[in-house]
């Protein structure tokens, strides 16, 4: 069980990696900071009840807070149902292509984006993602599959073992 007196230490030492996760979810450093602080404030109230390693618990709060946040359009983020026409590929190649992938990631619905970040950045298993999002493993699989389809990512080209079977 985490000791509340350790909360400040946790904030001081674990905020940086958590902030990166927040950024990948929000795509804006200021919003990421806001999301992180909101999650930490919620975590503080449950601090005495969480296990020895509070980080998974805080990550769960982050993802669920993100998924339930009111998104204000004037933050400039406007996900859409379909990816816009990509137009002709730029001869400069990979850099533009990565920008395109990054932009497409930003257009994913919030929960799909959360699944992508948890699976491919945090490297959580499907079962772990399901636990964080409080959904079934099947839902994680279907959401991963839909997200990759929207991102035009071909899972069959992956060489990473974590992906195998992850998008069935």
């Amino acid at each position: 069980m985490a000791d509340r007196s350790e909360f400040a230490d946790f904030v001081a030492h674990r905020s940086a990696p958590l902030l990166r996760t927040c950024f990948l979810l929000t795509r804006d450093w200021q919003l990421a900071e806001d999301l992180l602080q909101s999650a930490l404030a919620k975590a503080w109230f449950a601090w005495g009840r969480v296990d020895d390693d509070p980080e998974p618990y805080v990550r769960k709060i982050i993802v669920n807070t993100f998924a339930s946040w009111w998104r204000r359009r004037w933050t400039g983020e406007t996900p859409t149902e379909a990816l816009p026409d990509a137009g002709r590929p730029d001869p400069t190649g990979a850099v533009d292509d990565r920008d395109e992938l990054w932009a497409a990631l930003g257009r994913l619905p919030r929960r799909q984006r959360a699944v992508v970040v948890l699976r491919f950045y945090e490297d959580l298993t499907e079962a772990q993602v399901a636990a964080v999002l409080d959904v079934s493993v099947g839902t994680v699989k279907s959401q991963t599959s839909k997200a990759l389809a929207r991102l035009r990512v071909d899972a069959s080209l992956s060489t990473h073992p974590v992906l195998n079977g992850g998008t069935s």
Binding site: L24, T80, E81, L148
Partner: protein, 346 residues
């Protein structure tokens, strides 16, 4: 490389690459979290207190009805709600709202002719839910989010009302249409989130349109006998405080200024309020922020990072090492019930 050539390894490396440009460490984060914790506590305490008060009122009112028939306690304006939406909040008054039950409808609309750009939107659901509700104005997505978490008010930034609403094709004197829908995606066209969470049943969704009220017409709650204490922030190690504008020295209303050199890390500030009032923040004579408080519950509000980049956007040219003067002007406070803490860092 074509669009279909991405692999999951591309995706992994992209996520790592984009998240590595993390901003410099924020020394005051713990302090700001502490402020949020305090705010949540106060809201909970206020809610608990309100529940007790309402229970007592219910008992008294019930007894009164039994004894004298028809007498009822009028609900004061600052407590009044319509379909879960407060009639007054944060300086705004409800001027139109739309509600629908999810067993009957998936959306509903409201027509309104605005006379001012000082408007805001709020939403609430009868049941906390992870399901999404989206709001569009004149066909433009404006809000999208979860039903959960109680009532939520969203307004444009303090000096950009007209710009925001104009971008949504809102014109004064012309009818605007607000549509509330089940589903988180813009315009509600994607049923994705709803499918993800299953059907949304037996929930009443309410969306309210609010209009700013002159302060003289705003129904503030009565002042409690004792105000919440000021200055208990900094509970956690929050980094170095450079300056504090403290109403206990400056006065309930009044102005003060402080000059320093712009540190490489930039400057930031947060205001703390335990009574209604407003504080305007200026940098080198240009207003950059206005923070307001509308009740006695106690609240904290972080301002924008005062780094050269942000200030340039506000029309203030300041380089690292230049002299920078931060001015505050407090108005409307009846008590020395505010302070604004300036720290180094972003």
């Amino acid at each position: 490389m074509s669009r279909t050539d991405h692999t999951t390894d591309d995706l992994r490396s992209l996520l790592v690459e984009r998240s590595t440009t993390v901003p410099p460490p924020r020394p005051g984060r713990a302090d700001e979290v502490s402020g949020r914790v305090r705010g949540i506590r106060r809201r909970r305490a206020a809610a608990t207190g309100l529940s007790v008060v309402l229970a007592v009122i219910a008992v008294v009112a019930g007894a009164g009805l039994l004894s004298s028939g028809h007498r009822q306690r009028a609900v004061p304006a600052y407590e009044r709600k319509v379909d879960g939406l407060p009639v007054y909040q944060a300086g705004y008054r409800l001027v139109g709202h739309v509600s629908f039950h999810t067993d009957d409808k998936r959306s509903a609309s409201l027509d309104f002719t605005p006379s001012t750009y000082g408007m805001a939107l709020a939403s609430t659901c009868s049941v906390d839910s992870k399901h999404g509700v989206s709001v569009e104005v004149n066909g433009h997505p404006v809000l999208s989010g979860s039903c959960g978490g109680g009532q939520s008010l969203s307004s444009p930034s303090f000096h950009d009302d007209a710009g925001f609403w104009a971008a949504e094709q809102v014109r004064l004197g012309q009818r605007m249409t607000v549509v509330a829908r089940v589903g988180s995606s813009p315009l509600g066209r994607s049923p994705h989130d709803t499918v993800f969470l299953g059907p949304m049943r037996d929930v009443t969704v309410s969306v309210g349109l609010y209009q700013r009220v002159p302060v003289s017409a705003y129904p503030f709650p009565p002042r409690p006998h004792r105000l919440q204490p000021l200055g208990d922030h900094g509970r956690f190690d929050g980094g170095r405080v450079l300056h504090t504008f403290d109403s206990r020295r400056i006065g309930a209303t009044g102005s003060a200024q402080w000059t320093t050199r712009m540190p490489a890390s930039g400057l930031r500030y947060a205001g703390f309020y335990v009574a209604p009032g407003a504080v305007t923040i200026s940098v080198n004579g240009t207003v950059v922020d206005r923070q307001t408080s509308w009740n006695y519950e106690g609240s904290g509000s972080g301002g924008p990072s005062l780094d050269p980049g942000f200030l340039q956007q506000q029309g203030v040219t300041v380089a690292i090492g230049d002299r920078v003067t931060i001015s505050v002007r407090a108005t409307r406070f009846q008590d020395p019930a505010w302070e604004l803490v300036v720290r180094a860092g972003r």
